[in-house]
Symmetry: C3
């Protein structure tokens, strides 16, 4: 969400070729999905998606998902989101930092993950990615009033609004990952989680932020974060781990836990509250950990609440909790908040705050 | 949504008799349903409703709808909405421009369209129309912060909140137009749409803005718009047409398409974004057309998303899209936005913008 | 919702012992559930809950509710909500007035009312009460922009978000009061309500604000209000009475009516709009009564709308109506609004307004 630039630069300097600047913005956009304003991180994230497309090809295909389309969609979505903002005259600094790209990235992966790949779906994806950049501007304006960041809300709103019509439009077909509408009912007592399920779930929790189902992708994502911020790396890992433990303690479905589905929202809450939007100290660290716990509970809430519509929770638990935890800042004097426009990396925030 | 007055005046001048001013405000209120601050337009719209009540009497009666109550309800709702604002001390300029009337108009038509006409329902309608004027003030205050117009949100919120209780209150009975609560399921492949269905759907799309099911009403509405603004006329027609085409391309239900049910939201989005809240040029025209396309998709979303509650989508797709597209304006320098308080007609905006 | 202090003081004066100040804040927090910033009122409210736990022990036990846990939860929730605000550095004036307590009070009663009492549930309650204080700060900041009070929204949002996971987490079990997810269907014609059902329903409507099912608790709550404000007492009673009558006229379920379930939201709307957030005169009194009527209708709406999720309506009908009715104030010159930060008691508002 940061507008200022980190150390690594590909082509956003004054005088760089417009095409290089655009590629730089697109890569930063991919990185911004996890708050990393760094084109190298973005490139590593794309590598993770590509690796996942190869190693999980069969598992994805069994659900009707075109594995390579996840990779292609990520790039297409980021490009469309960024280009829409350029055409409409959005601020160059925001575009350059990738802030009009990351929602498009997620739209570009989510659409082929939940909808079968057809020419119509690809047109649909382009429309959705462009729409997400319009929502981004509205949220920047509305939430900016209280210095609350838009986060991935444009992605979630777009994807929800574009996934429900699968039940109205015969031209769209859901994949095996799209839930069927149904009423919730009480879960059976959860089975035990073994050691390998535990670590796999933790790593997949990181990968599931971008719908990547293989633990190897999770490791590559973590490396991508690490090259930009050690603190974000730690909170991403802590987030996924605590999410898994809390979900297990609450008796969540063991299958969902081992797939990392209780982990990806806490990963994002962990990165956001763990040093990024608040200067890291032991108070804000505890605040972030409390946010991670609440995020996990709200994931359980959304899974049940969205069941009648057949919609996935996406990153809404993270968005809701992070909005509440950041929105509260003017009333809590024990926390040192960083305005969204000034947040760079947890390390950068620390050096500014001294 | 405009507060300033157009060329045609019935009785809003200083010195006019209070009763004449009130009638003028009521007629403008009816016109404002489609952004036409013009009492003549309002009168023509009422004529359209009356004609529909006569020619579609049997079709409406078969669903349990009292045809003449649609006409009577439109007038009653507008009067109650306007009078409530007067009693509570709302701004005379806003009242005179019909801005406290148009939500009452729609409440007054929607209630007898979805609920069987009984004395209790008429009391209910009066309460709902008065409530819509209170919501209007709240939205004017809250959304005014970002110069985002309230649109028909007071109508939709009131109608949703007053329609769901049909399942809690034995004193209310739904008509055949009120959907039964149920879970969505994938649609069958859509049938072909013939030439007459195509034109009928386009005209009925205009009429459905006010729940009018006969194509003749659609033509009269278009005339009502034309007497006030040629640009709005064009965008109303384009909106309904594109809505129909996009819905067809997506594989929407042919029955819904030929009834104009994918058209009425795009009609409103077309008028709102097509020169009314943005100065018309080729960029804003493309922006409006993109808004029309997204509105059609979101109509499909709401039909499915509201199915478990048994609620109709009403004009919410239009409201949602128009809010996002207008809310984004401070961040998009390529568009010339017109503040809601200064918007008159697309033609008026053009002359001001020169 | 008032920050200034009423006549009765336990320990909030300068120089009072911190522990006494904390107890005072907790008791005021309990009183603030019904807008009474008075520790004596809070103590009487706790007495009402204790009495209910004793006299309704069997009826509660039959639904799987631990009666004494309602009493213990009320205290625990208020303490946790207040302590969270203290730890995070919230304003002492707000904490002292009990504004960080009342949502915790309600969370503390609602959780053992809807969820079976287990060690995990108690941890869950503590997390929820702490979270409600964070939401409170966010709403104070966001809604403060328009001088709209947060009301019991932090309680409702927390409770909804923590109740739905009962269908995702095997570690939680609902009591007999938690509705099962299901689709709404039209109600049978309502049976007649006899004289004793009428008065019982009216008194239980007051008690149901805090989930107390015995009419005796309702009487004690009324006494608690009376010691602080006669006007609030009258509007609480009027609210419950009109709620019952309107619900009956609409054909609501006789069982729900006689349990006071159509009364508790109107009680709160009555107190809030009846002299608390508007200076009492005949205009604002009529406005409050209209608000009470609309609240009852919206209760019917939420009962049906939340059925597919298996969630109770809680105090959302009151919150929604009161937000709309207060949010409208800048546009209605006939009403004299009292800013939330200055509201004390209806009597206090009257003396200030002269």
């Amino acid at each position: 969400m940061a507008t200022s630039s980190p150390s690594f630069r590909l082509g956003s300097g004054i005088g760089a070729h417009p095409a290089a600047r655009f590629v730089d913005a697109v890569l930063r956009g991919v990185g911004q999905v996890m708050f990393q304003n760094n084109p190298l991180t973005g490139a590593i994230f794309l590598l993770a998606i590509l690796v996942n497309s190869l190693v999980a090809r069969e598992a994805l295909g069994a659900q009707g998902v075109s594995a390579l389309m996840l990779f292609g969609g990520a790039i297409l979505g980021t490009v469309v989101g960024t280009a829409t903002a350029k055409l409409l005259g959005a601020d160059r600094g925001l575009i350059g930092a990738g802030l009009y790209g990351f929602n498009g990235t997620l739209v570009g992966i989510a659409f082929p993950f939940y909808l079968q790949t057809t020419p119509l779906m690809i047109v649909y994806l382009v429309i959705g990615a462009a729409f997400s950049s319009i929502i981004m501007s509205t949220l920047l304006s509305v939430l900016g009033q209280w210095e609350i960041p838009a986060l991935t809300a444009p992605f979630v709103l777009t994807t929800w609004l574009f996934l429900v019509p699968v039940w109205s439009f015969a031209g769209l077909r859901g994949t095996g990952f799209l839930p069927l509408p149904g009423l919730s009912s009480a879960p059976a007592s959860a089975a035990a989680l073994d050691f390998s399920g535990f670590w796999q779930g933790t790593l997949e929790g990181v990968g599931e932020v971008m719908f990547q189902i293989h633990w190897l992708a999770g490791i590559i994502f973590l490396i991508g974060i690490l090259v930009n911020s050690r603190i974000s790396f730690v909170f991403a890992l802590i987030g996924s781990l605590i999410g898994l433990i809390v979900g297990y303690a609450m008796g969540a479905s063991t299958e969902m836990l081992s797939l990392g589905l209780y982990g990806f929202n806490p990963v994002l809450t962990g990165i956001a509250l763990g040093g990024f939007f608040f200067v890291l100290d032991w108070k804000s660290a505890l605040y972030a950990i409390f946010g991670i716990v609440v995020t996990t509970i709200i994931m359980g809430a959304l899974v049940s609440a969205l069941a009648p519509l057949g919609l996935p929770a996406l990153t809404w638990p993270f968005i809701l909790v992070t909005w509440f935890f950041i929105g509260a800042k003017p009333f809590f004097s024990q926390l040192r908040a960083v305005p969204p426009a000034k947040a760079t990396t947890p390390e950068g925030n620390l050096s500014l705050a001294v």
